[in-house]
């Protein structure tokens, strides 16, 4: 498949936004249980929510550039019963509105107590919003990943590992950003967040390497024989029927040599995982903001490369019909 810049940006940007929100909600839960010091609501939660919102909105804007008719985009919320894309279109704005409410509630200290647990813990509105946002963040990871994982004949994508990768990589980049953000706003949390970012990056690396290994061993199920229904070991296409450009020859081929794919793979393994892991370990232990910011920038660039590779590696069966020009 041809990697489209708008989709690369959409999936990586909203991943960061979701991960960052999950980091905020995690800190709040820990603080609620008195496992972490309570950070300043104004600077940490409210500004953090704003930052998460910027990333989510950036992804939403990027997605419009993928559409042929962006002015009709509202229609895409109608088929949520069958289409994962439609579900994503619903969950993303829902998530964004909860992030806004969460940030505003912290900003104006709107914290009516909704319930008191038997242990005496008071659950206020911000905690409830945090929980709703967390559920939506995971739902959004699921929707985004299932858009790809539900297409059985794109075999590189049709695996639960796709869902694991989207969730873990989004979570890792969001927690890395949260660690860098906390170096300014709540230094007492930096160690904790960098630690989680480290663990998530490690887990993301494990599941991504697992999917690389799986895809490496995939054997194509569709062949020229099944594509045209002729049983003979040697079939060669001599003509696609036209010599000009077409949707089929542009949309489904990345058009780069195989060596480019290999180098992008190594680039993303280094930039999305190896280098950020080192920077997170260093930055987390020293609490150095520049190191953590560098970790986020390198990891985000690495995730763009990872997404590029994700698309380029997927081999659509329709390509069997477009093996020769003329």
């Amino acid at each position: 498949m041809r990697p489209d810049a708008s989709v690369l940006l959409l999936t990586t940007l909203i991943g960061v936004g979701q991960g960052l929100f999950l980091a905020l909600a995690t800190v709040q839960l820990y603080a609620l249980g008195r496992l972490l010091p309570e950070p300043d609501a104004h600077t940490f939660y409210a500004h953090g929510s704003l930052l998460a919102l910027v990333f989510l909105a950036g992804g939403l804007v990027a997605s419009f550039f993928h559409l042929g008719r962006p002015e009709r985009a509202w229609r895409s919320a109608t088929m949520w019963r069958t289409s994962w894309l439609s579900r994503e279109v619903i969950v993303l704005p829902a998530m964004m509105s909860v992030v806004v409410l969460y940030g505003v509630a912290h900003l104006v200290a709107w914290k009516p107590v909704l319930a008191v647990l038997p242990s005496g813990l008071a659950i206020d509105a911000t905690v409830a919003l945090g929980v709703v946002g967390t559920v939506l963040a995971f739902a959004l990871f699921l929707c985004t990943a299932m858009i790809y994982a539900c297409l059985p004949f794109l075999r590189e994508w049709a695996t639960p590992l796709t869902v694991a990768n989207y969730t873990l990589l989004g979570g890792a980049s969001g927690f890395t950003l949260a660690a860098a953000f906390s170096a300014w706003t709540a230094p007492e949390l930096t160690r904790f967040l960098a630690g989680w970012a480290f663990v998530l990056t490690l887990a993301g690396m494990a599941s991504r390497v697992a999917s690389l290994y799986r895809n490496h061993r995939l054997k194509p199920r569709s062949t020229l024989q099944t594509a045209i229904g002729i049983k003979h070991p040697r079939i060669v296409q001599t003509s696609a029927g036209f010599m000009g450009g077409s949707f089929n020859t542009h949309e489904f081929f990345h058009g780069r040599p195989h060596s480019a794919l290999r180098s992008v793979k190594w680039v993303f393994l280094l930039a999305a995982f190896a280098i950020p892991l080192a920077l997170l370990a260093l930055g987390g232990s020293t609490g150095s903001a520049p190191l953590l910011v560098a970790a986020f920038i390198v990891q985000y660039a690495g995730l763009l490369a990872e997404r590029w590779f994700f698309f380029a590696q997927a081999n659509h069966p329709q390509n069997l019909y477009y093996q020769a020009v003329a």
Binding site: R72, R75, A77, M79, L85, L154, Q237, S239, N248
Partner: protein, 243 residues
């Protein structure tokens, strides 16, 4: 239930592209708007077609066959392209099984084209919406056309009658008979899409012998035996002059 479909006889198709051009002509002149070509006479033309004829070479010289292979939307009975559409622009008609795109609803997200294993959907570069074969839904029910012309444009254009059109759920239709009698098959059965369009395989053309080719029906003596040898002097236009 009706399921309209094309049956394409690979044994007969000569790869002339008449179906491609007549499809393009019909579908670029209809009320749905043009089927756009960008820079049709420029250096790098780019355009949308519903139907393309591709050519494959099967086997190794000297035992090769050239197979011309027309391909358009197969109007799958279980179309994977329909449920993924977020807007409902892609749908399958219950009444006749045709898979269509509502050009006024489509947002051009291209997701359905990813979900079609056959590459049958193409974005129109001018209208920026998804397009695909409609089985000439604007011809086949048109009462203004003569009954015999209520067929897809490609079927009308095919000079060798390699394209049959009809209801594959009616066991007595021409297409169902052709699929049964000539081993019609579906493409990429491994994905469970149950394409409605079928292809008839290449097959050996048997030599048909008729009775009158073995026994002379114009034998005036009604004797089946060696014909009397004509004298050497006779002109030798044998069948006519041999008595």
């Amino acid at each position: 239930m009706t399921q309209l479909a094309l049956v394409i006889d690979l044994n007969v198709c000569v790869g002339c592209h008449a179906c491609v051009t007549s499809c393009k002509q019909w579908n670029t002149s209809g009320s749905a708007g043009p089927l756009t070509d960008l820079e049709p006479y420029g250096k790098d033309p780019n355009g949308a077609f519903f139907n393309r004829v591709q050519t494959f070479e099967v086997g190794e010289y000297p035992n090769t066959q050239t197979v011309h292979f027309p391909k358009s939307c197969l109007h799958c009975e279980d179309p994977p392209c329909v449920p993924v559409c977020p807007t409902g622009a892609s749908y399958k008609r219950v009444s006749d099984g045709i898979v269509l795109v509502d050009y006024d609803k489509c947002i051009g997200c291209k997701y359905c084209s990813w979900a079609c294993p056959y590459g049958a959907r193409e974005v129109d570069p001018g209208r920026r919406v998804m397009t695909k074969c409609t089985l000439c839904v604007d011809r086949i029910y048109d009462p203004a056309l003569a009954e015999a012309e209520r067929k897809p444009a490609c079927v009308m254009a095919c000079p060798t009658s390699a394209r049959l059109f009809g209801d594959i759920h009616d066991p007595e239709s021409e297409v169902s008979r052709a699929i049964r009698d000539s081993a019609g098959y579906a493409l990429m059965p491994e994905w469970g899409t149950h394409p409605a369009n079928h292809y008839l395989p290449r097959r050996k053309t048997p030599m048909r012998m008729h009775e009158d080719e073995l026994v002379r029906f114009d034998n005036p003596l009604k004797i089946d035996a060696a014909l009397p040898k004509p004298p050497k002097s006779d002109p030798s236009l044998d069948d006519v002059m041999s008595w």
